[in-house]
């Protein structure tokens, strides 16, 4: 009997010991990483395979993809000379170990094949080198001369898969191209691809043109022109090359901008020295007045959901940023950070408003949340102004005037304030506007 009890006691003891041993194990090691090292992702992009070795399409497409991703600052395309392996067949998983040796974390393999019907077929696969899996595989058909757009679309697809964010490489920039002596500048409306390729001039430069703005849903531009000496808003259709006047207002019109669905244009009309914000419905051409303040209200821009409008006004004494409902109600000031603040632009993502801050004689680009909090200045130029968002709300372009009349340029910068870069334009350029992703 006593033996039995002792056995039971021992059993309980063992059980207790077992529980005691388990307890610390379940409190397994826990590490809370809050600090990182922001660095571009090393990605290997060999030339795409072609049917005949040396065909240019394979090199060209891979070259543009490398340039796109490298320019984003989020990727670091590796030098093809360092590759240990040539991806001969893109339908076979690559030798992942060979790519780990050169520290690639992602790999793009692709091929560009001419089809019997004269079209170009481009396939690519994105591989996760450490996870040893395919992350993405897509195929495109196009006319061979469109290879550059296919390359941009591939860049967009890779960017989106890695960052979770839509890309912006298959887009265009409209801007004012400036040439000639400072006293007699010739200003022309011009368009380039996002990487600076394919520049096209849309107007001859006989008339002053200002503030071009893209329709967010189509390849259509609204801009201001002084044809006949009167500033009016015109629409330019990139697809057809047609240009039309938005309406023959009896007064001056400025700073046009499309609504997110492209059906309306919000703008400034000046009447008897008083500028207010009006909206025009493009289908009915009906015009509605939104502000009635005696101060100058201008530079309106819709929120991406179309429910609100941000604009600048000097109703408080100096130029500041205000937000109102789309019907003109509930006006409130959001910029309090000092200096003058103007040219607000709502991010297509909705989370930020970019603006130009003037302090003393310097103009800088900043962002703030729609409630005015979290103000951050991104650039540190002498005269940076007129921000425009990439369609993914991740990158900004702006005009930069160099000190001492040394010209004007377009620059881009990441919304985090990193990766400031000059945009390649033919000659001097100002007042950029970023297109939506091309449909």
């Amino acid at each position: 009997m006593q033996n039995a009890l002792r056995t039971i006691g021992a059993g309980i003891l063992v059980l207790l010991a077992f529980v005691a041993l388990i307890a610390p194990a379940s409190a397994a090691l826990r590490v809370d990483v809050t600090q990182g090292n922001i660095q571009p992702l090393p990605i290997a992009i060999p030339d795409f395979n072609t049917a005949e070795p040396g065909e240019s399409a394979g090199q060209n497409i891979a070259g543009v993809v490398r340039a796109d991703l490298g320019r984003s600052g989020i990727f670091r395309p590796l030098d093809p000379k360092s590759f240990l392996e040539q991806a001969k067949d893109i339908n076979v998983p690559p030798g992942f170990a060979n790519w780990r040796v050169i520290n690639a974390q992602a790999l793009v393999t692709g091929q560009a094949l001419m089809q019997p019907d004269g079209r170009l077929r481009v396939d690519f696969r994105l591989w996760d080198i450490y996870g040893e899996t395919q992350m993405l595989g897509l195929q495109y058909f196009t006319a061979p001369e469109n290879w550059r757009r296919i390359a941009h679309m591939i860049s967009d697809a890779i960017y989106q898969r890695i960052t979770g964010e839509k890309g912006y490489f298959d887009t265009r920039i409209v801007f004012i191209s400036e040439s000639g002596p400072l006293t007699n500048r010739r200003k022309r409306l011009a368009v380039i691809d996002e990487d600076g390729a394919n520049p096209i001039f849309l107007t001859r430069g006989d008339y002053l043109v200002l503030t071009p703005r893209f329709n967010p849903t189509a390849q259509m531009i609204a801009y201001l022109s002084y044809i006949g000496g009167k500033p009016r808003v015109y629409l330019f259709d990139l697809e057809t090359g047609r240009q039309q006047m938005l309406g023959d207002f009896p007064n001056m019109t400025f700073s046009p901008r499309f609504s997110p669905n492209g059906n309306k244009v919000v703008m400034t009309l000046e009447k008897n020295g008083n500028s207010d914000i009006y909206v025009m419905d493009l289908r009915t051409r009906a015009v509605t007045r939104l502000t009635t303040d005696p101060a100058i209200d201008t530079s309106p821009c819709y929120s991406p959901d179309g429910s609100q409008i941000v604009f600048e006004s000097d109703r408080g004494g100096a130029q500041q940023i205000y937000v109102m409902n789309a019907d003109g109600s509930n006006v409130r000031r959001i910029s309090f950070g000092g200096g003058k603040n103007g040219t607000p632009v709502w991010s297509p993502r909705g989370d930020l408003i970019a603006f130009t801050k003037q302090e003393g004689s310097t103009f800088r680009i900043g962002v703030m949340r729609p409630d005015g909090s979290g103000e951050r200045l991104l650039t540190n130029g002498w005269e940076d102004e007129g921000p425009t968002w990439a369609p993914n709300g991740r990158v900004l372009m702006f005009g930069r005037t160099l000190r001492g009349g040394r010209g004007s340029q377009i620059w881009s910068i990441d919304v985090t304030g990193r990766n400031e870069q000059k945009v390649i334009t033919p000659g001097d350029a100002s007042d950029p506007a970023w297109s939506p992703l091309i449909q």
Partner: protein, 261 residues
């Protein structure tokens, strides 16, 4: 008496079960007194787990059939026609500007050199990947000496391990900056390490962090963390305390402090 006998036998059976169980684990665990128990519920719905699956799953695609699972049709006549008004001068400019896209590797002559590098590097990686290198990783025993022994609290004993891991992973993790709502991008992984500090098996995303696992931003954040876990290996941790860092039950990556500068 029969009752007592029955109790005794039950006790013996329980005891025997426990002993054999822990014994079996001891062998696996190389004499660790700690019985690892995985009570982690794994995320069922995240995309990340899918990408973690071993490569063989892709092999079927070796077939010569068109590769793409999701062909993206493309407007064949993509670039819109240029406005007639003034297309000519700019086209010239276009050609001037449009330089041959980036460096084309014309390194054929250097092939021999490349091959040498290749062999050299391959050897290197084999050595790196070779899991029989525990001796090397044991060199970092500095922290073991200043461990507060006798306190008996697991946290006190592993605080230095946490610091070591943090100092290593910090350099490898490139957080998903610039994404909206960083508070939704905190990811937790369960990581098992080999004695040589390499990653023992694909890190598993913990369910607690996968509330928004369908979100592409979240997937990107989780993949960035997973890349960090892999690229930082092998971890240099005191080899004699392997039982304490064999599993990092919650490897949490929190990008909130890294956003917006």
């Amino acid at each position: 008496m029969g009752v007592v006998g029955s109790l005794a036998l039950h006790g013996a059976i329980i005891a025997a079960t426990l002993f054999t169980f822990s014994h079996r684990l001891d062998i696996i665990d190389q004499s660790s007194p700690v019985v690892p128990v995985d009570l982690v519920s794994l995320s069922a719905k995240t995309n990340v787990t899918a990408t973690v699956r071993p490569a063989p799953r892709i092999e079927p695609q070796v077939s010569p059939a068109p590769p793409s699972p999701a062909p993206a049709p493309v407007p064949v006549q993509a670039p819109p026609p240029q406005p007639e008004s003034e297309a000519t001068p700019p086209r010239d400019a276009a050609e001037a500007i449009e330089k041959p896209p980036t460096a084309v590797p014309k390194a054929r002559p250097q092939q021999a050199m490349k091959d040498e590098n290749k062999k050299f590097d391959v050897d290197n990686v084999l050595a790196l990947l070779n899991k029989v290198a525990p001796a090397a990783s044991r060199t970092n025993a500095r922290t073991a000496e200043r461990t507060v022994r006798g306190i008996g609290d697991q946290n006190a004993m592993t605080a230095d391990l946490q610091a070591l891991l943090l100092s290593e992973i910090r350099a490898c993790w490139s957080p998903p900056v610039g994404a909206p709502h960083p508070e939704d991008l905190v990811v937790d992984f369960d990581v098992f390490l080999n004695p040589d500090g390499s990653v023992a098996r694909p890190p598993q995303l913990l369910a607690q962090s996968s509330s928004s696992s369908g979100d592409p931003y979240f997937r990107a954040a989780a993949e960035a963390a997973r890349r960090a876990i892999y690229t930082c290996a092998p971890y240099k941790l005191p080899g004699d305390r392997y039982s304490q860092w064999r599993e990092i039950g919650d490897f949490r990556f929190d990008p909130r402090q890294m956003m917006g500068d």
